[in-house]
């Protein structure tokens, strides 16, 4: 880990997978992959209300594409 970090910008180039508009939602693992973080961090974001998931059958969590775009300040 380095002490020098880039400063956060308003928006970042979207991962190609997130450009696929036919995809409406992603599993937590897929969302983590798109964001480039560990998936437990995505569960934390959900727990803290930074990401609002939807629940499909039997309670499985999915992260809507619109929520990811909102998080990445694209929408």
């Amino acid at each position: 880990m380095s002490g020098n970090h880039e400063s956060a910008s308003a928006a970042a180039p979207l991962p190609p997978a997130l450009m696929q508009t036919e995809r409406l939602a992603y599993s937590v693992e897929e969302a983590a992959e798109l964001l480039g973080v560990h998936y437990f961090s995505v569960y934390r974001m959900i727990q803290r209300g930074k990401l609002r998931p939807c629940r499909v059958l039997r309670g499985k969590l999915l992260v809507p594409r619109s929520e990811l775009l909102k998080l990445l300040r694209v929408e």
Partner: protein
Amino acid sequence: MIKRKGQPDREGVAPPALKRMSDTEYAAYFEAFGAIKSDYQALCLIGDKLREVETSARNLGPLDPPAPNTHTELPDSVGDRSPWEVCTSLMRFNRNEVLLCKRVCEHGLEYAVIDHSPVASVYAKVHGPVDVLRTGDNPRQVLRDFLRSERETLVLMTNDITATVRLLIAERFPKQDLRRVANEITRLCKKVARVGFSESLTDATTQAQKQGRGMGVGGA
């Protein structure tokens, strides 16, 4: 190695503690557990790490400054505030690291638990690599609040994993009653994710501090 009908268990996952398991239940169990095996292992790992953090927090002792070679600073996401100084690493995953940090503010020292994401990640490019999870002027309270919130996150993750199991069983074995299998896997997941964080952490840490042992967080 537990065996059934002379066959070794597959995937290194022990069969469930179900009595008189039918062939269908047996097949469903291994298929479902195979699908969530990596999640189950992650659950075990995170649970273990949180228990370690709890133990460390309980033994939070001499508040010595960190060694000079481990001194690291993280910029605050807001930008106009002083940077965070890393006291200790609480958990490290392949991408993220959870750190206990401190900094000087106008009222004295401020402590924080920080989720540090890779600088090059898409998330960090928008929000910065530093995600502050908890802050406060008392490191023990900050750790206690963090652990409580992690327990809730672990429950969320466990429920998501067991939902995957129920979905998979319903898809692969339709019109069959395999509730015993789903319930058994749910029980196993909840068992490894059970983290009994002590609510009396303050008392324990005070005792540890008096005895001069445990994790140092520096300069309080």
